[in-house]
Point group: C2
Chain length 239, copies 2
Amino acid sequence: MIKDTIKVACSNCNLRELCMPLGLSDEELVRVDELVASRRRIKRGQTLFQTGEKFSSLYAVRTGFFKTAVTTEDGRDQVTGFQMAGEIIGLDGIVNDHHTCDAIALEDAEVCIMPFDRIEEISREVGALQHHVHKIMSREIVREHGVMLLLGSMRAEERLAAFLLNLVQRLQARGFSRSELILRMTREEIGSYLGMKLETVSRTFSKFADEGIIEVKQRHILIQDAEALKRLVNPQVCH
Amino acid sequence: MIKDTIKVACSNCNLRELCMPLGLSDEELVRVDELVASRRRIKRGQTLFQTGEKFSSLYAVRTGFFKTAVTTEDGRDQVTGFQMAGEIIGLDGIVNDHHTCDAIALEDAEVCIMPFDRIEEISREVGALQHHVHKIMSREIVREHGVMLLLGSMRAEERLAAFLLNLVQRLQARGFSRSELILRMTREEIGSYLGMKLETVSRTFSKFADEGIIEVKQRHILIQDAEALKRLVNPQVCH
DNA sequence: CGCCGCATTGACGTTCGTCAAGTCTAGTGG
DNA sequence: CCACTAGACTTGACGAACGTCAATGCGGCG
């Protein structure tokens, strides 16, 4: 099996500000360019890595859309996140040198492969990169705090509202519309992430549509009343 | 207000194997000893840090027991973890230079204060420390994946069983009994962490007691049938 | 001793899961 | 090009699990 890999450089990548530290000197840029060993294409439905697989690299999403999921021994699984361009996948593997979740492409995708030993090596020389790596891991911890809050104390409508707002906000940061989005995942995957069944996801979409908050046409979502969504997430606070 | 701080060294701390990397050379040990600026005592109910507070240091729990919790604008809060001796608190603060959760002592406690800029500085020189920091952050990410799985796809009994097994396993690693434990938190705090109401926590404890799986006397828990708890967490797998 | 916070227990209601039927859409192959 | 199919989605009826509300018990501390 031939891996589809390509040689490249970060320094002129249009996603640089998303996955790399800012304000590097020219010589630092040269060092950081050595981070990405190569790229790899992953077809929709294929795994970038699987539970149990040896950890060697972090991956920066260049194009496409991923989900990560953990699985119990008895077959239940939980989607732990959705990743889009500029986001980093694979941090779970560092602690035990093996991955503890699956990363699956939800559409044809391309990632930059960053060998972790190289990350550590260059981090020791380039302080900005070192701090950047720490920030990325901290950001992931904080994101997961948010998911725990969502799963632990919100009801179905609030969860879905929070989910939509988060997605659209991340898409907007990448230059897409702040009111229109296409879901790359199924209702079941949304449900798994949000701790609800696919039927409940579907019903809640329909309810939002009935109330004129959003328009739903399969995976195409149009947000008609973002304020209403925000109110749902924060019931007490009235804007 | 006078902070209760004390000067100390990691190299002969009995918790070293819990919060520091192993196999350091003598000169590396000297460097790593510079990590801990001082210690601080926190009385039960006091905060180690609060949401919004400027981030400057990570904290290693020396004695005592903490909870961390995030709060929504409308006052709901979610316990994101419980920390005991040897565990690290404060990773949430790195990404935005401000803490995003509260850390509260559930009993009188003492922590080692490790200024983060010093951690980064020494990490650049001592590769083992650098990797250790990465592992600690990765471990926290993996732990949170587990909590997401618990919150997203388990029912009350499974959650509480998983919680008890996790607690007792961590206590055992610190030399305590593997069948007996004292809960440092209230039913409400357990419920917040596990995404259920305090009444459900109480009822589930009572149910376990009725079935002879545990013995409950207020916060004192005796695990009589650990296998039964494990079966609850993994319904399909029969030991 | 009496108070207060924490915990337990019961009765009842709501939310969401389960099961089942039916619809829509994209992709496939004749 | 169109019919066919599989997978994804929607919707309804019903029930179980858990939340809510309220009463009561218990234990530690001033």
